[in-house]
């Protein structure tokens, strides 16, 4: 390979910054502009699987405590009680179901590891890309099941399974 005359690295460095400046200053319609957005005025759409906040589908939760026990920070607080529900078939014994009284996640402690979402056997916890829930006071970051339920609306549809993926066996 022939040795091409090389631009000294020092000049190349200056060129890189100058080129970036020219690119930033170029009007948007010519494919220029900054890589950033001006946040409060315009917002980026986070990717569909972004880990913004953990939402709760209350109906699916059985207060089994698996998420609370697997949480590395112990930031999930669950209280529940048992209730009798009408039998499934006529003449059967009444069923015992777990009722959820309290489901709180302390987002001041949460480290967004997602183990609770993984571990939930009843599909009650979901990742949502919602990220605008900062609070002036740290204690206000403890969110209850009503607030967690509201975030369910922001959870995107689960994407299609990949071709050849193993289908979950339904009942």
């Amino acid at each position: 390979m022939a040795n091409k005359p090389q631009v000294p690295g020092l000049l190349k460095g200056l060129g890189v910054t100058a080129k970036t400046m020219a690119q930033t200053l170029k009007p948007k319609k010519f494919g220029g502009g900054a890589a950033t957005v001006q946040y409060p005025h315009e917002k980026e759409t986070p990717p569909i699987r972004a880990r913004g906040v953990i939402a709760l589908r209350e109906d699916n939760c059985t207060a089994c405590m698996l998420c609370a026990r697997s949480c590395p920070d112990w930031c999930i607080y669950i209280e529940g009680h048992k209730e009798l529900a009408p039998p499934r078939r006529a003449g059967g014994a009444p069923r015992k179901v777990n009722k959820l009284d309290r489901f709180d996640i302390d987002y001041a402690l949460c480290m967004y590891c997602g183990i609770c979402v993984e571990v939930c056997p009843f599909d009650a916890l979901f990742w949502s890309p919602e990220y605008e829930y900062s609070e002036p006071k740290i204690a206000d970051l403890l969110h209850d099941k009503i607030k967690l339920g509201e975030w369910m609306e922001t959870v995107p549809e689960a994407p299609e399974l990949e071709a050849g993926a193993e289908k979950k066996k339904g009942k």
Partner: protein, 349 residues
Amino acid sequence: MNLAVTIPYWGQSLLRVLGGTVAVLLPAGTIVYLFLFKMMSFMQSRLGPMEAGPYGSMQLFAEVGKWLQKEDITPARADKRVFRAAPLIVLVSTFLLVAVVPFGPDAYFTQFDAGIFYMLAVSSISTLGILMAGWSSANKYSLLGGLRAAGQLIAYELPMVLSVLGVVIQAGTMNLQTIVLKQNSDSIFGFDGLGYPYIATQFVGFLVFMIAVQAELTQTPFDMPIAESELVSGYMTEYSGFRFLIFFIAEFATAGVFALIASVLFLGGWGIPFSWFGWDSVDSIDNWMNVAGPLVMITKMMVLAGIIMWVRFSYPRFREDQLQRFAWKVLIPVSLINIMLTAIFKVAF
């Protein structure tokens, strides 16, 4: 060529103080907004401040307001009087520097024959302030930063002095005003359309001078004294509020003043080639040059300051030993050879 009104001495002094303040603060503010806020952001593919005023133009006032609100903390074990005086000494050296810079045929604060000598002497007063700040803070990071700054500023003072010597030899004077006049009235091989800016013959000197200025200002490739990844903020670690603001203003004001001096020494200063208007001596220069001169100066200053900042935003930091080696083993020999060659050519032609 006298002004129509005679201004009393106190009036002249007042005007000089006002002019000096403007000549220091205006370039500092412009450099910070245009280069530090905007150019750096563009080079990093972002827009920089956009909220305070149109395109963030009022950001400076917001920053100054923020700093003025902050508590003025003096560490308990600091040497209080020295600690409080240090930033002022750094800023004072900037004001003293601008005093010799000529802005026009009559628009100067003072001019005397030892101008360059004075300029070089006064510019090292800031070293004293920085050393005071580092020593009196009672903080190991401040002390290390202050010592590094002292070592660096002394090391780069030498190439700066030596590179300026080339200009002094060529001009045959140390008066900054005369240097400007010479550059604009001389001709290159009989062609006088460009004047004779000394960058043409003193290009090596110019390069060495700009590198030394970069180091004197502790701008990035040479910012060992405030290396934030090692020393928090070097000699400024313990400063807050108003006094930090003074350090900050002094840094960028000095950048502006050094850019002004570089444009005087190498780029022809406030002048435009005199042959354009048929001027042949100081007294024949039209009066409007006193207005146009400062504008020409500021244009040249902005270009040079832009280059200083561009380099600052592009390069990573030197290591302490590399920095010293670069000054003593590269810059000083190069500028010595430059002086020798200049002297030989001066005598030969």
